[in-house]
Amino acid sequence: MADPVSLEGLMVFRTTSSGSTKRVVIGAAAVALTLMVAGCASGKTSTSTSKTLTIDKAFDLKTADPGRMYEPTGEMVDKALYETLLTFKGGDVSKVVDGLASLKESDDAKTFTLTLKGAHKFSDGSDLTADDVVFSLNRVIGLKGNPSFLLDGVTVTKKDSKTVVLTTATPTPALPSILANPALGILNEKVVTAHGGSTTESDAAEKYLNTHSAGSGPYMLSSLNLASQVVLTANTNYDGDNPAYGRVVIQNVQGATQKINVQGGSADVALDLSGTEASGLSGSIKVTSDPSANVLFLLLNQDPTVSKITSNPDFVKAVKEAIDYKDLVSIAGKGTSQAPGVVPSMFLGALNPSDELTTDLTAAKADLAKSGYAGEDVTLNFPSDLTLNGIEFPTIAQRIQSQLKGAGINITLAPAPVATELDAYRNGKETIGFWYWGPDYPDPSDYLVFTPGNVVGLRAGWAAGADPSISKLADAAAAGGTDAERATQFQDLQKALNASGPFVPLLQPGNNIAAKSSVTGVVYNAVWTIDIAALGSK
């Protein structure tokens, strides 16, 4: 039998809680709620005079400050906020065109004279001058941030109110391409310095530049949340054509959800669809598929202390011959192509498809026998959590393992999170590494790092002097010349790399952009993905 006292207690509790007090509390809450919403202000943006464009992007955003930004999302955002001295037209990154300025380059590629064209205004209505140009470029150099290397060895001087001269001690034929990077966008010196900006490491303007913009681009920064979204509004002082969309919302959304969003209509553009996701879209959704400028490659360590097997030239040759490149392209999906060399296909100096590596299993087995390989396990390191343009590294690594097995090479897969594996890769400790190279700037000279004694060469244990013939070709390519001369020099270098270098260029993953058919002008650009201001509406 239950204790009656407890029942009494319960009854008391129930009586008081269900009595008039309760009704009073509920009534008061209802009145409070009514009062709160009585004003009924709207949280909606005013869209009566301008359209909103919604773009889905998987964020890698760290900042909107051009002097510190060097990530794909930041490139796209800053392209909309800031103008650069030179630029690219549409998706063609092989040819630099005038931006804010016109260029006169010396024959020795050491002096670059930039003359401001027309009258440009910042979003606050003030004029853009040569002083702003000098400040902006020197700020990038002085901050020692991620993009500072772009202007390594560059001296910036003002010649007159319209002219700025950039000089370098060594030939720098890539500088015009570099100047098109949104990280080198021109800022309003007065505004930035008023908010803590300077051309030294003591600069404190990042916070301001993450809440406001200080540029002359077609848009202004309305709000920025690194985790969720960036909102842009049209710059009424922009001296070019007004953008078709008065307000742009860039949302941080992962690929699988992007597809549903663009199908369902809550997003107008989706930027990170994999080949598989993109191939299922049709009807009112247009998909633009192009090979991206990222190049997936294998490196085989040439340092015998790391591996006696992979440092054997015949083994390297056997690996190149054993890989089925067409098969890799087919599993990578829409837009993906085989990388002809380390330089992506859309850059000056890229190899023609006829120069690509090809599969020859018989030759692979013969070269493997010559190498003295006796079936030992060889480790393949790769980032297990990396997905690039929808391609998952583990999937490709497993396929390579199975293809090499066909030639008699036993591969042990050694996946690790990118954050932890990066160290071993950068320190040249991997036996076989599977990585990618994204361009720092769209010029073939960025790929000289794949030569002996240079950054990626050293990661493959390929020390300076390890291959004098390739170093000679690299030196010739670095010296500069006309576009035609440079194209030939870089092609020769890559042919030699394909023949005897420790790198195996594999894929350029497809870049798939899905957009509603009402959105026009979607063009992939290897530097800033899309030019938001160039998007139209119909």
Binding site: A2, K44, T45, K62, K144, S228, G264, D385, L422, R426
Partner: protein
Amino acid sequence: MIEPAARPPRAASAVRGGRAAHPFLRYALRRVITSLLLVIGVTLVTFVLTNLVPGDPVAAALGQRAAEDPAIAARFRAEYGLDQPLVVQYFTYLGNLLHGNLGVSTLTHNPVASDLAQALPATLEIAIGAIVLSVIIGVVLGTVAAYRRGKVTDHVLRVVSLAGLSVPTFWLALVLYYVFYYQLHIAPGSGRLSSDFNAPPTITGLYTIDSLFAGQLDTFLDAVSHLFLPVLVLTLYTVGLLTRFVRTAVLEILDQDYARAARAKGLPTRTVVWSYVLRGASIPILTVVGLAFGSLLSGTVLVESVFAWPGIGSYAYQAASHLDLPGVMGVGLLIGVMYLLVNLIVDLLYGLLDPRVRLAS
């Protein structure tokens, strides 16, 4: 006289007041002190585990070109205190914590505390919604299943709750999103608000509350509609867990003498359920609810990813994948403290609900 163990917990509360108030205060004080010591333990564990991760935060945080510049790398190490011995780093971290400083994120360059303050309300909004719904549904279904033990209803509920527990939340989230948003058009797109809405002025960080404070009814309705699917997915998972536990707890109480007596006495089923059975089962249920809420706060990464929900899960994933050590430690500490807080509240509620707990301790 019934045995103490078989008494309904409420029965012992007759000794409330006077002498009984002190044992509860002592009990509460002891629990609070224990929780504070555990917080220090959590700081040590998160610090050690975070620093055990192989890999160089400089390589992960800086671009490859910048990381290769010794001057830039050295400046980065100095700026984030990575050039100090680990012991010094830990005590500096503890010292900063006392001032509410969780460090600066190497990823966002913001104070970690402010990043977390921005992310936490987003997660809280879906976690609170999910736990409230889960408790209501789970208690009802669990009780029904217990009363219908061995019958068709019980079997159906068992299958449903096991399905809720077994289906991967990432997959479920994508499927529900596809069906409710794309096919049926009854749910909005991803994110906390539609893109034609601005976030309401921040007061609590909870868009539903802040929009009401701002008098923006349309924003409030939009925010509520965006909560629908993430809350549904989390509820489907948690409700399965709660249903199983409630069923077990209710069955145990139904076997107790006092519950049998209440039924034998002819009290209406509703009275027996609410006044005897659920009150008796409240402690085990409370324990599971506390754990489930903690797991909702820390385990929403995949759901947040599908619904583009900028909460703690998304922040933790970003921080971990970029080796943002201050960010990772901040999330670890926050989750740890939240768990401790929830457990402390549950412990205190034990003391209130069941005097045997506070008297025993």
